[in-house]
Amino acid sequence: MSYVRVIRLRKIGDFLLNAIIVLFALAPLLWGLSSSLKPANRILQVPPELIPSEVTFAHYETLIENQLFHYMANSAIVSAATVALCLAVGAFAGYALSRFAFPGRNLVMLAVVTVMSIPIASLLVPTYTLIANLGLLDTRTGLVLLYTAYELPIVIWIMFGYFNTIPRQLENAAMIDGYSRFDALRRVILPLAGPGLIASGLFVLTAAWNDFVVAVVMTSAEAVRPLPVAVYFYLGFFGREWGPLLAASMVSIAPIILIFVIFQKYFVSGVTGGSVKG
């Protein structure tokens, strides 16, 4: 068999494998998207149609009437605040671990890795007590603090790795050029750490935006309810009305997909920043 045929067969094999993976990953999403745009009586129609013959936004309108924007705003506020807090603290922590040799540094690094491996479910009860004692149950602040606590280790770890790839000479040069260490960090190092910040920011954003378990435990008031919890409550409210439920699911995943599409090249270079020199 000639090598040309082997190569061609391999390519076909790769393609088929990838196609199957894509099918499995996307099929539920595509079905959800298509069904959320169908009139209610067509959703469970047999045979199902992938591209709806009749498109309606009625389900989305129903959601808007049921305070969709309020829940989205809650999620957005909590996610944005979490990302900001995580990056602010995580970037400085990662920088300190990357640049300074101080007593206890190895212990801190070990703690960071260890904390990352604790499942959130096992932390629910103690953190609930803590948040209750602080009087932060049913507040967005409480959620922001908890998400930050859960996600900070991964931010510190990614930023630590990314700062390690930025030569120390750059901040040394900036300091000799007349800048304090803080100004050198702000003017030279942080701008260069952009991909690392974006990658860790996306991790935090995804976790905070998608979180259901923590939010459902820590909040009960509708005023602070984030979107994933709202989707769950829609399930009770709409019963088996698939249209509004699917529309709610689509709304809750769309922003993350959009942000990943925009930032994906930074995400990859940020996460792998330690392995390859750019």
Binding site: P167, Q169, A173, A174, I176, D177, G178, Y179, D183, P191
Partner: protein, 364 residues
Amino acid sequence: MTDVRFSRVRKAFGPVAALAGLDLEIRSGEFVSLLGPSGSGKSTTLNLLAGLLDADSGDITIGGARVNDLSPDKRDIAMVFQNYALYPHMTVFENLAFPLRARGRAFDETQIKTKVEAAAESLGVAALLARYPKELSGGQQQRIALGRAMVRDPKVFLLDEPLSNLDARLRIRMRRDIKALHDRIKSTIVYVTHDQAEALTMSTRIAVFDQGHLQQYGTPNQIYHRPANMFVANFVGEREINFVNGAIAAKDGKANFVADGLTLNLADEKRWRNLRAGKAVLGIRTEAIKATRDDTGVSAIVEQVELVGPELVVYAAVRSAQLSCRADLNADLKPGDKVRLTFDPAHFHFFEPDGGVSLAGIEA
């Protein structure tokens, strides 16, 4: 006054003494090279002066003021790094303007523009101001790094092996450019290098380091012709110096250096007249031994021949010792040929066998 002084400066990294009690004085306007192999303490010295490292003890002064406790941004120094450390997210213009925009330097935009353009002009990089560092060749990056250092007329310039990433030709050209720059701006320059040729060609004085100790501090001429010890003698020079173990002995009332197969008359050179008899190591550079097909001189056998352009370098065996020496191109020597070696006593160096200190001292 921008002289620089190290007094009893020590620095250790864990159990390793990187610098063991350095005393060094650099006068205002001098071009001083810190020369030595890796791990000799030369870069440590530079980083201590820059403020990137803290001394364990001792005083460092710039212009008479103690700077040990000043952070780098308050020392009014400029530094060129081995890897240039250009800011990759800034254009060449922004890179050059960066030191001028630091806090406490009240330059307005017009002044910054004028100064940056003047610096770029004088280094011949004015056409590159809009580029980013990654769009420049190594030589161009090198010039930008120099420009960023000189743009704000610092008291002291620190250069950390700035030419080591350039190819050989460009390195020799940049050597001249840096020397010309120093002649023009007359700032104090401290230049770290492991390349003895760079140190010899550019410096007013050279400080030779080894294993955390300053071995010798003097003009290029002194360092080359009056090495204080065997380390300096061997480290400085294009190729390794020849060391011959032997003894100084009187013969017929005249001083001689005697080794296996070798007797060299020292009486004609007055530096050697007062040497005491006893064991000694002779150091002699390739250019001070000449191999010929004449009838006089020390007998030797050619082992290897190198063409080095204007002449030949011959490795010749005298009994058990191998000496590198020079020969005329037209001598047409080949391995196995019998030659005679003639030595130039003015270029002898004698060292103690233990410790390697120069026997005749470093004075002319």
